[in-house]
């Protein structure tokens, strides 16, 4: 089981964030292209950085705590990190957006579970300038 130590962390992140999609009625699943275009370019840059830093010895992975699969010299989990973490970030960002638009977590969840995604007129959904 020890070789699953890194994979378990990614699973924890997905288990914690994927339900946000349903609970807050998010629409990432209907905007797959937008998700891919937001995640992949950034992931490409960070994977390049990671490959270079790993090659330079800035950091290293314990072979006993990762799966044996290597891609570009990185454990599969490390590569997955750059999809899982940004996706969790987007889900969190959008869930927070739905809470700010709804005015409370409770109302955001009620509207989310109902599938009601109305944005009140004249309000910046991101709450710009009111922080």
């Amino acid at each position: 089981m020890r070789h699953l130590a890194y994979a378990a962390m990614l699973a924890f992140v997905l288990v914690g964030t994927l339900p946000l999609h349903r609970v807050f009625g998010l629409d990432l699943a209907r905007q797959v292209r937008r998700v891919v275009l937001a995640v992949l370019p950034v992931a490409a840059v960070f994977v390049a950085w990671d490959v270079a830093a790993t090659a330079a010895g800035h950091w290293a992975f314990d072979p006993a705590q990762v799966l044996p699969v290597r891609v570009l010299g990185l454990p599969l989990e490390e590569l997955s990190f750059f999809v899982v973490i940004p996706l969790a970030g987007l889900l969190t960002y959008e869930a927070v957006g739905s809470v700010l638009r709804a005015g409370s977590v409770r109302r955001a969840v009620q509207q989310g579970l109902r599938g009601d995604r109305r944005v009140p007129d004249g309000r910046d959904p991101r709450g710009r300038g009111r922080s």
Partner: protein
């Protein structure tokens, strides 16, 4: 380039992307900072797992801290090098910036 320098550069690039290049100005919004507050809490947890268990180890020459993996102190926060905070901030901010830039929602109106 050390991890310290690379992580700092990452933050500068992400901020430039947000404020200058794409002008999404996420860092001027409550939505970004509220989301980031949640994200950074879970980053400390999950990164603490990766570094506290020595799943990932760092070259003391590449980071502010040394080889000692402390809970807090010596350039570390919940076992992880402080540089990881900059790394995570840049990663998630850049992704959310692209997401907003690609978005159909503009000026508070829900467009199809």
């Amino acid at each position: 380039m050390t991890y310290t320098a690379a992580a700092s550069l990452g933050v500068v690039v992400a901020l430039a992307l947000d404020l200058v290049v794409l002008r999404t100005r996420l860092v001027a919004t409550r939505q970004w900072w509220a989301a980031y507050a949640i994200i950074v809490f879970f980053q400390l947890l999950t990164n603490g797992w990766l570094t506290g268990r020595r799943i990932v180890t760092y070259d003391p020459e590449a980071i502010i801290g040394g080889s000692r993996v402390a809970f807090v102190g010596g350039g570390r926060l919940v076992f992880a090098p402080v540089e990881d905070l900059a790394f995570g901030f840049a990663l998630v901010l850049a992704t959310c910036v692209l997401w907003e830039r690609l978005g159909s929602r503009r000026g508070g109106h829900d467009q199809p």
